[in-house]
Symmetry: D2
Subunit: 278 residues, 4 copies
Amino acid sequence: MEQKARVLIDCKDEKGLVYKISKVFYERDLNIDSNREFVDKEQGKFFMRTVVTGDFDLAELELALGAISPSDAHIRIITPKDKHIVLMVTKESHALGDILIRHAEGALGAKIECIISNRSTLQSLVERFNIPFFYVPVEGLEREEHERKMMEILAKFHFDYIVLAKYMRILTSVFVQAYTQKIINIHHSFLPAFIGANPYKQAFDRGVKIIGATAHYVTDDLDEGPIIAQDVIPVNHRLTWKDMQNAGRDGEKVVLSRALTLVLSDRVFVNGNKTIIF
Amino acid sequence: MEQKARVLIDCKDEKGLVYKISKVFYERDLNIDSNREFVDKEQGKFFMRTVVTGDFDLAELELALGAISPSDAHIRIITPKDKHIVLMVTKESHALGDILIRHAEGALGAKIECIISNRSTLQSLVERFNIPFFYVPVEGLEREEHERKMMEILAKFHFDYIVLAKYMRILTSVFVQAYTQKIINIHHSFLPAFIGANPYKQAFDRGVKIIGATAHYVTDDLDEGPIIAQDVIPVNHRLTWKDMQNAGRDGEKVVLSRALTLVLSDRVFVNGNKTIIF
Amino acid sequence: MEQKARVLIDCKDEKGLVYKISKVFYERDLNIDSNREFVDKEQGKFFMRTVVTGDFDLAELELALGAISPSDAHIRIITPKDKHIVLMVTKESHALGDILIRHAEGALGAKIECIISNRSTLQSLVERFNIPFFYVPVEGLEREEHERKMMEILAKFHFDYIVLAKYMRILTSVFVQAYTQKIINIHHSFLPAFIGANPYKQAFDRGVKIIGATAHYVTDDLDEGPIIAQDVIPVNHRLTWKDMQNAGRDGEKVVLSRALTLVLSDRVFVNGNKTIIF
Amino acid sequence: MEQKARVLIDCKDEKGLVYKISKVFYERDLNIDSNREFVDKEQGKFFMRTVVTGDFDLAELELALGAISPSDAHIRIITPKDKHIVLMVTKESHALGDILIRHAEGALGAKIECIISNRSTLQSLVERFNIPFFYVPVEGLEREEHERKMMEILAKFHFDYIVLAKYMRILTSVFVQAYTQKIINIHHSFLPAFIGANPYKQAFDRGVKIIGATAHYVTDDLDEGPIIAQDVIPVNHRLTWKDMQNAGRDGEKVVLSRALTLVLSDRVFVNGNKTIIF
């Protein structure tokens, strides 16, 4: 029976890896539809993403690849089924709305399981799309307690990624480490410029001629996680910082959209504090 | 009483126009918040957009400006109130959805009066937002008759612009001339490249390294109207033409969004087959 | 006799300035070829650049404009004659070479008076173009003494701007203040990202997906002067930091070229730590 | 002895090619430094570029690869030595100058053998760089005769590519076919927009908001050859077509530079009327 799989392998670099891996595919009569490979020479690490088609037994294929790979190899064989995601938002609707529209037209490549917010602002928008919305107010709660309530909700769902679509509270280390390499954020500046609060105001005060947006994995270090996608838009002296904020929103949603497309099609490897994108 | 107005004047060029116009404002003790002026020397035409604040009588101000301007002058004094628009769509939701989200959050700068479509595909999406949706099927109708039915619906609404948010049928000269300089279209190529049907397929076949989108006023000449905004995105050999179509959608909605912001804030003059944008 | 002048005025904002200034032009029968005006409401400052043609006496016009302007007004009437510039370089040739080529073809809009360097590397390139090259070695000199030698050379030339075309030493406050608003630098990052040494290495280490270049006026605060022009180029995981450096050079020279064109055509006002560009 | 080579293979697609090719490398104990592969499914064609290091005999390696490849395979094993190029120019110096500067600093990746022109305008610039310049006037010559004279000069040099750095005469089919896939041109528009004469004037007349440049292989069909690189820059109503031409020059030289870097590092496959770029 003809199947398709994305095979992702990363491990320490060794001579002959492309040969050995392609031999496994060849011996099983699998077609290589596309293949990208990268060696990080500085770190001595090997990364490869191959799309194969043919008739294979997933467990057997995984075993065979494991047998010829270095012992530290991280092997993923992903057969095409929709990803599942959870969104976290605060009160701005542009990034969320963009995702909802693509979800509604079947163009997102993922099913949205639920949306969690520390504000009720976006509830009515979300409910137009018949997606569960959980409002978890912060009032009277310690940060840890607030996150614990959100984690209780998250525990009820199966999901591949948590997407912070303009969630405007800083997450604790406990929360972040509970979902390692699973949280994706959109930051409203071309990082590492304008780290921290109100980047558009910072950009206005500095008098820059370009502003930007950055989608990245969330790690313990605020605004320091591996960058997935970035883009910029030109600005000029006629814009107030509010104008910049408005102008920046189109950039934010487009960059987040681009990052999600890459992540959901398994094109992104995390390599230390960087990403490799095939 | 403090008021604000955008004053737009275009006429044949003459010496002293900036002086005479600013004198009218000065004598009425109006503040000039911003001012942009352009002379098309080739055509001998003058264009000026001034934002004034102060206490004025609109009719009196118009009279005074008319008195000092050349006889062909086209003078508009626009006080801030929301514009009204009508959308026409076919079956793609990305451009429409982007406008609906911005409308819902109050960021569009216009009230959507209704949405007309030759297909029923987008009805359920539109109805989530409680906006009247009129489905006007084309089956069994001559083109003229189909348009007449749409014009009957349009006649019931007051609107400033008709926005073609991926309306995929060619409009007749009768329709276009009924709404001169009021119809705005998004075309899925960086015009004038790839005029006509299926520009992404054309772009794929030509092997270009950039694709784009163009927002323009609709005139009798298909894809030849005055261009308001354009942008491009890079592509490569790995994309099929379907991939290009998907990649292009973000560009289309962003370019249309940018064009609408310009038009709805009265920053666009039409100058023959071109635009002047302040 | 028909003359042309760029009139630049900046002062505190007041009601009626556009009227009063355009009245001065009108009374002298001057044509306004183009006009741009901007009010910085936050700072209460007015900026205007007007190109006028007609028959005028420069001193009389300056007096007349001074009479109707606020007492703090900074008025410049610039008649078209080539600017004069001096270049300072170290050892990279891309930014210098670009300027030399445009100078040789008469497209720079300025005459290069001389080129000063702390290295001899570029001497032979410069001499191909018959421009005086002064090699001022740093060996055995205190920073202040080195700069004093360069200032002695500079004192022999008349120039409007000093262009740092990849001059890789930090200038002291004494030097910078001797040429206020006259020193233009190209920095190899999209400031304020990657301030300081080796921005490409920093960009590589951070794993960004865009790198950039920034042209700015030099002030006492290193890399903090008013930004004139910026641009970015996309990068990916396949580039080493040396590759980024090479890729960045095209960006550097193009951004510097764009900034020089703006400055040399008197389109740039410095407004505190920002620029206004007409 | 450690050697390095770029191995480029294109042939009809077959199952097992990656395996068979990497086996050849593996059996010779060669390291794969980088590898990119692409299958054009529509055409059933396979493309692969691999950089290998190790101790190999070039002829033996070529034989071994030929033995396992389909009979139509086009195999190139390129060891690092500088490419050689010839330039053809008319009278604009920006593209030529950019190449000369990079050549002078050793950053071009190719040795310029000579420069041929139908005008004498650029002779003095070229001679500053001690490169042979051949002026072949067109006066009184049939097009074929003019080209024959240039071909006589070309015959005296060994070169990999002819770069048309703003050579403004159309080449005949005879000339083009004498140097198949060896002629690279920079066209001053984002092809296929504004094919033919004076694209900036065409762009001005059409009122576009972006202009561009395209580097492509020259084929018999004017402006229709495989595109290597493209880029655009924004323009507005304030630019005359001469201004657009000036603004476009930076784009032209940067796009040509980028295309040359790709071609000279053997990253470009021609695939019918398109390119594949690794």
